[in-house]
């Protein structure tokens, strides 16, 4: 049995007493500060024990796992179609991306062809969730640097996005959206109308938010040159998504390995240079514009025909009224629910570009209707390792800002 070592002790062990107890000329000495686990400034449950020299951070030690819910274990006991609600709760700021990522994994395993129309609908959903994810991240960066107004202003539009989700699947935050092969029902006219309205209303609001923060002197002073990371270091730490692109690497799963017909759309990958808080903010700011561009193209190119799901009766639950009135539908319903459908044996890895980076699903199937092993590649968990290095030498208040600009989501961190 391993013994619990207090984190303060872990930090103290790294330095000899001479350094820890040294008194500077002005009488100051190093101190240990416990930031978290439940601190109002950290937006989630993160514990950081900091060794501080006055206001400067000398060293840090992180704890995680406060909201660990054993999703990988639970997933080994749930049929494929019951795993989506688990993926919702990873990055709960953009749950539809996780949902779609999971369906893509299952479809890759089963080898299902998805109609173009469904793919475009999925692209719209994923880009909407990316926008809502970036709205949260950037407006929270604003809040943490002292600008609350922008947050309140753009958060209305996150509500609008959630209203679209609500029209499509009935839920807002943890969406549990879709089925193997497509969506559970066709989008209602109200959903399309809300989407159109959002596409007209949101871009000016986003530009207004941009005008308020981006060139604001106070905001720039707080964000520039804090929490920078070099491209090499970021790759070594396994950064993906906007945080990696802020460091100047143009890796994006949507381009590197297009899924869901992303190759049909014209869009740019914004990259930063210094990888600091300001670059991360700017990359997200620009990515929202690119997402809007993709949604516009998807709406223009949306095929009229194609339905809202692939024709895979073996895996796609038939509509309820048909189950009651139609023999064939009843049989398929029974077979799907009772797990009588054979599933290929084998292993697949499938990934999508989530709000924070590459969200991957590694699935080992043993031919039964539950995964033998399912591993979530959670971008937050991997890049949060770099946090200690990024805050060394920074001020305490910058460390808060760095964490919110990295968009570390507790649900994704702890799975």
């Amino acid at each position: 049995m391993s013994q619990y070592t207090p984190l303060t002790k872990k930090i103290e062990d790294r330095y000899n007493e001479e350094i820890l107890l040294r008194e500077n000329e002005d009488g100051s000495e190093l101190s240990i500060l416990n930031l978290g686990p439940s601190h109002p400034a950290t937006h989630g449950i993160f514990q950081n024990v900091l060794l501080m020299d006055g206001e400067r951070i000398v060293d840090a030690e992180q704890t995680l796992g406060y909201i660990h819910r054993a999703f990988e274990k639970i997933a080994e006991n749930r049929p494929f179609y019951q795993i989506t609600p688990l993926t919702d709760r990873l990055n709960y700021c953009s749950s539809p991306i996780n949902n779609m990522g999971w369906w893509l994994t299952v479809e890759k395993l089963l080898g299902i062809e998805i109609p173009k129309r469904v793919q475009y609908m999925r692209v719209i959903i994923m880009e909407l969730s990316r926008i809502s994810d970036h709205i949260i991240c950037n407006s929270i960066v604003g809040v943490d640097s002292g600008a609350f107004t922008g947050f309140l202003h753009v958060f209305q539009y996150r509500e609008k996005i959630y209203e679209i989700f609500e029209e499509i699947c009935g839920a807002r935050l943890t969406t549990n959206m879709g089925r193997i092969g497509g969506f559970e029902r066709d989008w209602s006219p109200a959903a399309w109308a809300k989407l159109d309205k959002f596409m007209i209303d949101f871009p000016p609001a986003w530009e207004e938010f941009d005008r308020m923060l981006t060139r604001n002197r106070i905001f720039m002073d707080r964000c520039l040159h804090t929490g920078g990371i070099s491209a090499n270091r970021a790759i070594e730490y396994g950064f993906t998504g906007p945080n990696l692109r802020a460091a100047g690497v143009d890796y994006d799963v949507r381009v590197a390995e297009p899924y869901c017909s992303y190759e049909d759309f014209e869009f740019d990958i914004p990259v930063g240079t210094a990888g600091d808080t300001y670059d991360r903010y700017m990359v997200r700011q620009q990515e929202v514009r690119e997402s809007l561009k993709i949604i516009r193209q998807a709406l223009d190119k949306m095929p009229k025909e194609g339905g809202f799901h692939a024709d895979v009766p073996d895996y796609y639950l038939p509509p309820k009224q048909e189950v009651y009135n139609n023999m064939e539908a009843l049989i398929y319903h029974f077979k799907i629910v009772m797990g009588e459908i054979p599933v290929p044996k084998g292993e697949v890895y499938s990934c999508v570009e989530g709000g924070n980076g590459e969200v991957g699903f590694y699935l080992i199937s043993d031919g039964s209707r539950v995964p033998f092993r399912l591993h979530f590649r959670r971008p937050c968990f991997i890049y949060y390792q770099g946090y200690t290095e990024m805050i060394k030498g920074a001020y305490l208040s910058d460390a808060i800002l760095i964490m919110s600009s990295m968009n570390v989501i507790a649900g994704e961190l702890d799975a």
Partner: protein, 176 residues
């Protein structure tokens, strides 16, 4: 010249010979199974010679029905961003003493992922700088993702393995 499945498998087989074989379970990417003692060498070779600059993922798996010598596995996913090529590397470990060399000296990102694997499977990573539990609490004694630890109430009949299209688990591992 862009990498292909054939080129990379040929190169790896030429370099590692008997220690490596092609993994037939993979339905998508190139996958190889490597002896656990050579896993570090293979990953170093792929990183330095073949341009696999990114370690996407490290995770463990438990196969209680396998032979005693291959009940645990560590799975690495590597990615070559220049040629846009992925590879999956699997290394089987024995049941009594699952030990493998760490790759956190090659990729910093492996640090926490290996800690997570240790936390859930009890797989020990040799030379790891700080191998302790990460998501579970330090006082915990078991390794919860091992198959011998059942989920939920075993008295429940509606979640019986047989209804999920597989035979009930055979627990031939001693309790930890």
């Amino acid at each position: 010249m862009a990498l292909t499945k054939e080129i990379i498998s040929e190169k790896i087989t030429a370099k590692f010979g008997e220690a490596v074989r092609i993994d037939g379970d993979s339905l998508d990417y190139t996958a190889v199974v490597i002896e656990s003692a050579k896993a570090h060498d293979l990953i170093k070779y792929l990183r330095d010679q073949e341009g696999f600059n990114f370690l996407t993922d490290v995770c463990g798996a438990h196969f209680p029905d396998n032979d005693k010598s291959a009940q645990f596995a560590v799975i690495y996913h590597m990615h070559n961003w220049v040629d846009r090529f992925r590879i999956r590397i699997k290394s089987f470990l024995n049941a009594e003493n699952p030990v493998i060399n760490t790759v956190s000296d090659l990729y910093l990102s492996a640090n926490w992922q290996e800690r997570e694997t240790y936390d859930f499977y009890g797989i020990e990573f040799k030379n790891h700088p700080d191998l302790r539990r990460i998501l579970n609490m330090d006082e915990m004694e078991s390794f919860p993702m091992r198959k011998e630890f059942p989920l939920e109430d075993q008295g429940r009949t509606d979640k019986d393995d047989r209804y999920f299209g597989r035979l009930p688990q055979t627990n031939n591992l001693p309790n930890n």
